[in-house]
């Protein structure tokens, strides 16, 4: 069955069935990454506005490449060069973009809820590309696609998340997503990044435990999600970098505590020698580069689903072809 996605603001409101649909619809786009000729004309004539109010390289390039491979044009707004610096409000900026008639807008913003706010004020589909500490839905979808490809299922996995979970929208979106499939979570990091409130994420009954010892956190893990350590946050309540590395770096010795086939994911940018040992980052359990490729597939699927068909136009009199 088909689903309509008016906006993609977060994983939390989606059903497990809708998530499975999105992952299934990403499969044909995974194949396209393997074609000698990767450019489609499916969204020719459509325009995707990329409004990145917070600096981003990977996610922006991924969305831009996804749009290009579907044949869509792009409008680019980047924080560094934007008129925000001159005092324009968020709403005025996006209304200006909207006046140039894009077919959808992709927003990254440092304030949680900014994409929801824009979605309430603009008449076009909004995709959240990361907002504050709230959600990063396309990251969670590409992680889920990667896990499902390697493990064959998302059901009932033991998921360990390492690092600054407090400030991580990636962790939140991943918990929202995987909890819908009955996964159990172990959150691990310095106590200052593990507030009790994190246990309330996910639907009621979700198993979430917080531990500060990495050995305990890795035992029995099927999936290990390593987060980037934002160094600027490390000296907040005085945790020296060396101390973090000593206690929490994912090393080959520690990885052996997890299940032998445990997957290692990292949303990037990855700092080798800080949160992850290079031997783990390049090891057979690492999915880091698959995640990047799958990111393209998931974003192509979303752009296709949200702008691909003329939602408001009646069907053509008799489009006999592809009647299915």
């Amino acid at each position: 069955m088909s689903h309509r996605f008016g906006h993609m603001l977060g994983i939390e409101p989606l059903t497990a069935e809708e998530i499975v649909f999105l992952l299934d619809q990403s499969k044909p786009f995974q194949e396209i990454q393997r074609h000698p000729l990767k450019k489609l004309a499916t969204l020719r004539g459509k325009t995707v506005a990329l409004a990145f109010f917070e600096p981003s390289t990977r996610t922006r390039i991924s969305f831009a490449t996804a749009a290009s491979r579907l044949g869509a044009d792009q409008m680019n707004l980047q924080a560094e060069s934007s008129s925000l610096k001159k005092g324009e409000s968020l709403l005025d900026t996006v209304r200006t973009l909207d006046a140039m008639k894009p077919d959808c807008i992709v927003i990254r913003h440092s304030s949680s809820g900014a994409p929801d706010f824009v979605a309430r004020h603009l008449p076009l589909p909004v995709i959240n590309a990361g907002d504050g500490t709230h959600e990063h839905p396309t990251q969670a979808l590409l992680d889920a696609l990667t896990i499902r490809d390697r493990r064959g299922t998302l059901e009932g996995l033991n998921v360990t998340i390492l690092g600054d979970i407090l400030h991580s929208r990636v962790a939140r979106s991943n918990i929202h997503l995987l909890a819908k499939f009955g996964c159990r979570f172990t959150l691990c990091g310095p106590a200052m990044w593990l507030p009790r409130e994190l246990e309330c994420l996910g639907p009621p009954g979700t198993s979430i435990r917080r531990v500060t010892r990495i050995a305990e956190a890795l035992e029995g893990a099927d999936v290990i999600l390593t987060l980037r350590v934002q160094q600027e946050r490390l000296h907040e309540p005085a945790l020296p970098l060396d101390e973090y590395i000593l206690q929490y770096q994912l090393t080959p010795e520690r990885l052996r505590l997890a299940r032998p086939d445990a997957l290692v994911l990292h949303p990037g940018p990855m700092v080798r020698g800080l949160e992850i040992d290079p031997a783990v980052a390049d090891g057979p359990q690492s999915c880091v580069l698959e995640q990047v490729t799958n990111g393209l597939a998931v974003r192509m699927a979303l752009l296709f689903l949200m702008t691909g068909s003329g939602a408001d136009t009646p069907p053509e009199k008799d489009s006999s072809h592809a009647a299915d």
Binding site: E31, I32, S309, P315, H321, A322
Partner: protein, 182 residues
Amino acid sequence: MHIVEKSQLMTATEIDRTVQRLAHEIVEKSGGTANLALIGVRRRGVPLANRIALAMRGIDGVDVPVGTLDITLYRDDLSKVAAQPILQSSEIPFPVDDKDLVLVDDVLYTGRTIRAAMNGLFDLGRPKRVRLCVLIDRGHRELPVEATFIGRSVQTSDAEIIEVRLNEIDREERVVLVERVS
């Protein structure tokens, strides 16, 4: 608006005989099955391609590779369709470069599906030759596309629809002519 069945064009036996003949024709006109591959266009071209391949094994004793192609991403009317079409995988587990390909579909009508299928194929490589095999040719072309191998040609009006129903998908086996009535 509803749909009325006007007549039955083919029975299960007739479909089977036609598939056997098409397989013979393809083998004959290709001088054997070397370098040959079939590409079924989703959805009903897929079971037809598989059946033709099976029939070819009976003729030549060789397994002809079969791929499947989903043309949704290559359609030219996506911005006009109301319902979001569901994508399916294309599975072409062999290189198409220099292959002698036969596209297989159930009904040839406007020719637009085949235009889309050829776009999809050429994103995968450069086949040596592409020919088209259809169970039914119902006319009304909007593009310069013709089939090399045709099961049956049928005169139709614009209001009529040809429905090929195959066991693998529809749990029944026949071809019917239906009409939309307002």
